[in-house]
């Protein structure tokens, strides 16, 4: 564009020269316009180059100065560790895309993005995607934007449906892949964020994480767009997603007054932005080890109420991999207790001796971190404002042997033929 404008300017110059006197005022005006346009073109996006280290230097040109300041303020011990971490985000919709942008701006090491959908105009009531991206896959559009924002982040995109058998295999192998950090223990990612919009996909993320012994966080926004939640799931240690029917934050208004007819989902950029913010805040606390990582945090926007709770795993969980993780967790208890005792002893010895020799203003530190005495509910007792989304499976008697009619055919091919014969009529 700059070249075109330059040529235009030159042509105008020669035109001016070729014209008989007096010098034409409108040509001067045109030239001024073109000069302004050239300036505008020059200010068009420039991509910054990749940075090897995160600098704490406070200058306008350093994208990490305000993040590294967290270290100086004593919030985070070692912020730069964030570059070692990999986070997988499943579902790049209203919550997932915003979470991805937040982590990208925070300088996360690597992001894995999963979605099978395309960007539509109907998504424009939410954040992140732009109208000119309509028609692109959400993963491609996200990579396009995120790369521009922060080229230091390694982005991997997977355009697939994780609930299908094939998609699930790819999902699992991508989580196992350790090429980003070979020495990492366990899987190839540090955390999986579920930002999907349906129960089926959540159950699939749960299945994968239980099998891989992978810590993950669940997030969700209700279909009426006025409440949401985030949840931390550590296989074996906390309830898995299949341990009990999913929790939902009750809207707090009479359910009968809610009009469901005719629509399957509403959405608001506000609720989704809040939930994405809560999710990534919990992610940062988990990865960079500061503050308290919430096991469950609900958000009811109509009443501005934030219920919290803890959930222990269900020893009768229907998910086999969850039961295996529960067993492992119990077996590791003595080692865990020993490590905890050692840590406590260390902090105790470190705390000995006064921090300040004099205290002119009689300043004292008061502990206000009231420990939640609320017993971790296993399944039945729920805090006010939370309800179950689905009923539990009914107990059913172990079959009193299949009826004689059932025994007649027990060959898969034969059964297929029977159905085809019926279909042919």
């Amino acid at each position: 564009m700059e070249v075109e404008l330059k040529e235009m300017l030159d042509e105008l110059e020669s035109l001016k020269g070729s014209l008989p006197d007096p010098p034409n005022a409108s040509i001067d005006k045109l030239q001024l316009h073109i000069k302004r346009l050239t300036d505008l073109a020059k200010s068009a996006p420039v991509r910054r180059s990749k940075l090897k280290d995160m600098s704490a230097e406070v200058v306008d040109s350093n994208p990490y100065s305000r993040l590294m300041a967290l270290q100086r303020m004593g919030i985070v011990e070692n912020y730069e560790r964030i570059r070692e971490y990999s986070v997988a985000i499943v579902g790049i919709g209203g919550v997932g895309s915003v979470a991805a942008e937040m982590l990208t701006r925070c300088g996360i090491g690597r992001l894995l993005l999963y979605d099978y959908d395309k960007v539509e105009l109907a998504n424009m009531n939410r954040l992140f995607f732009r109208p000119e991206q309509v028609g692109m896959t959400k993963t491609d559009a996200a990579v396009q934007t995120l790369q521009d924002i922060n080229p230091d982040v390694v982005l991997e995109s997977y355009t697939l449906n994780i609930t299908t058998v094939q998609g699930f295999e790819t999902f699992m192998s991508s989580l196992r892949n350790k090429t980003f950090r070979l020495e990492k223990e366990g899987s190839g990612v540090d955390l999986v964020l579920s930002c999907v919009d349906n129960y089926e996909a959540r159950m699939v993320v749960n299945q994968a994480c239980n099998e891989l012994n992978q810590t993950w966080m669940e997030s969700g926004v209700s279909e009426d767009a006025v409440s949401g939640h985030i949840q931390l799931l550590i296989p074996g240690e906390t309830a898995c997603f299949a341990c009990a029917p999913p929790l939902v934050v009750a809207s707090g208004v009479d359910e009968r007054t809610l009009k469901r007819e005719g629509v399957c989902a509403a959405s608001l950029p506000t609720t989704m932005g809040v939930v994405a913010g809560l999710l990534v805040q919990n992610t940062l606390k988990f990865l960079l080890k500061f503050g308290h990582v919430s096991p469950y945090l609900g958000y009811n926007s109509l009443k501005d109420y934030f219920p919290t709770m803890e959930m222990r795993p269900n020893p009768q969980c229907s998910n086999g991999a969850c039961l295996e993780r529960q067993k492992e967790y119990l077996l590791a208890k003595p080692a865990r207790d020993a490590a905890k005792a050692k840590m406590e002893a260390e902090t105790l010895s470190a705390a000995e001796g006064p921090l300040h020799a004099d205290n002119e203003w009689n300043i004292s530190v008061v502990d206000n971190s009231e420990i939640d005495v609320k017993a971790a509910a296993s399944s039945d007792t729920l805090p006010v404002g939370l309800t179950r989304e689905l009923p539990s499976a009914d107990e059913y008697p172990k079959l009193p042997a299949t009826g004689p009619a059932d025994m007649s055919v027990d060959d898969l091919e034969e059964l297929k033929k029977q159905l085809e014969a019926l279909n042919a009529d």
């Binding site: 299908t164 399957c264 009914d394 059964l415």
Partner: protein, 174 residues
């Protein structure tokens, strides 16, 4: 099951219940489950035919039985409206139900998710959760798809979103 019409209720009780709790990643157990799925579907199809209420065709689209395709139809004002029908068996089946898709209706009704997946949240998902693993594909068609068609097709026809194939043909000819 309150609120369901007596016909659906009596049909439902006659579809054989399943017993094997296995999904497509469970090897031999999945084969056992698949046999039960076939038995239930055969029984349901036979029942529909003898009650003069035949309304779908479905068959496995791959040897593993994880993808199913077929047709379903609904009669409204004496005219038959037919749609392609498809779904995958999710890896977490039967803990989660198959997501039934009618791709031709994608974008034509609000009671549908992207890709033509019909909305089952309110009327069907709680029933499926309660009856896991006894419900199978046949139950999903009977309690999920059939009531959806009965509720949505009349609205789609009356609002002009879908046209009967004869009407559509004649209007393009003229």
């Amino acid at each position: 099951m309150e609120g369901w019409d007596p016909n659906t209720k009596s049909t439902l009780t006659q579809i054989p219940l399943l017993t094997v709790k296995a999904g497509p990643r469970d090897g031999g157990a999945w084969t056992q489950r698949l046999k039960e799925e076939y038995k239930a579907m055969i029984a349901y199809t036979q029942m529909n035919k003898s009650n003069d209420n035949d309304w779908f065709r479905i068959s496995a689209a791959n040897p593993e039985g994880t993808r199913w395709t077929g047709k379903c139809w609904y009669v409204h004002n004496l005219l038959k409206y037919e749609f392609d029908l498809q779904f995958d068996i999710p890896v977490t089946y039967p803990a989660t139900a198959p997501e039934i898709e009618l791709p031709q209706l994608d974008g034509k009704t609000q009671k549908m998710y992207r890709g033509g997946k019909i909305c089952l949240t309110v009327h069907f998902k709680p029933l499926w959760a309660k009856n896991c693993p006894r419900f199978g594909i046949a139950h999903a068609l009977c309690l999920g798809l059939a009531p959806w068609l009965a509720a949505e097709v009349p609205i789609l026809v009356d609002s002009g979103m879908i046209k009967h194939k004869d009407d559509a043909a004649s209007s393009t000819e003229t």
